[in-house]
Subunit: 231 residues, 2 copies
């Protein structure tokens, strides 16, 4: 019996918004598209969902092919299925991934001419790929308020100027750096280490995240709900 | 030119987790499935994404067909695409919607034998529809911590026992009611009205949400980030 035989079938794709932090600014990994249409134009890295894999595994496969990396922080950030978005009918599920670029850039695949660009200054992209980036930024902002995912982008130890740059990139804001430092330090959210960054001009101290305080700050708002867990 | 001609095509469906609050407990709207396979079994309301609509519009169409309602609060809460989830390869995008059932139950469609069940006591569902409900609950819990979406489920004025029941249903917890009331009132989050619920045994007072305090409580955690908005 051919159930559903009168229902339309669709090409289902995944596209990956791969964001990286190089210690100073937020970057996005783009590729030159290897297939028609729009061949050789800048694009997010994508691929089609195969019959024997879930969309999430398709995204992992695409990411691995491009970066060699597995087990990245990866999350769905939108479904792009407007009928006119490509010349052919393709519904795309978009994922974003977070990478510490300093740690990983050496294993980027050459095959796709993959290149890191500043997140706020990259070439024009095909189809609705810029909307996908906007969706990834929106998801990142919302999640970053509740979970310490921004720290996926930072090395284990980081300087205050580094984290200020990261927040400036994600939230598209200019921070008053002194004020930001003062509030961040007063929050108890980060712990000063006995070591300086030798690459920075003034020799900024390294810090690490205080996970206990982070959780505590989230919980203080939710405390009147017994049994609540952020998991 | 037939771009992508060697790529697999997939049946793309939407399924809707429709949650309602009847003033006392949280309910889910289920239908008896009208088509094979699994005909006549209890199921979430779903449908196939057509070539001329986005998945989101497909979900709105399905919701309207079943409830007569438009402009419901609706949000994607997961993508279900494991190869073996149905006998045919179908990838489903799941949405959840929130309804005040007292306000809307009169216009439910008869065609699908749609019926409200207690969220924690409903018949066994086909395929992976129970996982879809679990995904909706997870999204609801996370969002409810940051945004006042639970109040989409409440009438404009509500009693403290009503909101306690709602939180008990969403978070699967037993609240110490006296303690909950005391903390909720102390939070300033709700404002007492000069009117009692005549249906409740002890004549509980009505309240409404204090949106200013709600936003303030969210912002207190985020204050060290200037320029942050929860939008």
């Amino acid at each position: 019996m051919d159930f559903y035989k009168n229902e339309p079938k669709t090409l289902l794709a995944v596209d990956c918004v791969i964001l990286g932090f190089n210690g100073e600014s937020l970057e996005i990994l783009l590729v030159k598209r290897a297939i028609a249409p729009e061949r050789n134009k800048w694009s997010l890295m994508g691929g089609f969902v195969q019959d024997d894999e879930s969309p999430e595994r398709a995204a992992s496969r695409v990411l691995k092919k491009l970066t060699g990396l597995t087990n990245l922080y990866m999350e769905n950030c939108g479904i792009f299925g407007e009928p006119g978005r490509e010349k052919r009918r393709v519904v795309s599920i978009t994922y974003f991934a977070l990478i510490d670029t300093k740690q990983y850039k050496h294993i980027l695949s050459e095959e796709y001419e993959a290149k890191w660009f500043p997140l706020n200054d990259h070439p024009k992209l095909i189809f609705d790929h810029e909307d996908m980036i906007a969706a990834a930024k929106h998801t990142l902002r919302t999640k970053a308020a509740l979970y310490p995912i921004l720290f996926e982008l930072l090395p284990e130890k980081f300087t205050v100027p580094q984290i200020a740059s990261l927040y400036e990139c994600v939230y598209d804001i200019d921070l008053d750096k002194r004020n930001f430092s003062r509030k961040l330090l007063a929050s108890g959210l980060i712990i000063k280490l006995n070591e300086k960054d030798k690459n920075s001009k003034k020799g900024a101290f390294y810090y690490r995240l205080n996970m206990d305080i982070y959780k505590e700050k989230i919980m203080s708002f939710l405390r009147y709900l017994p049994g609540w867990s952020t998991e």
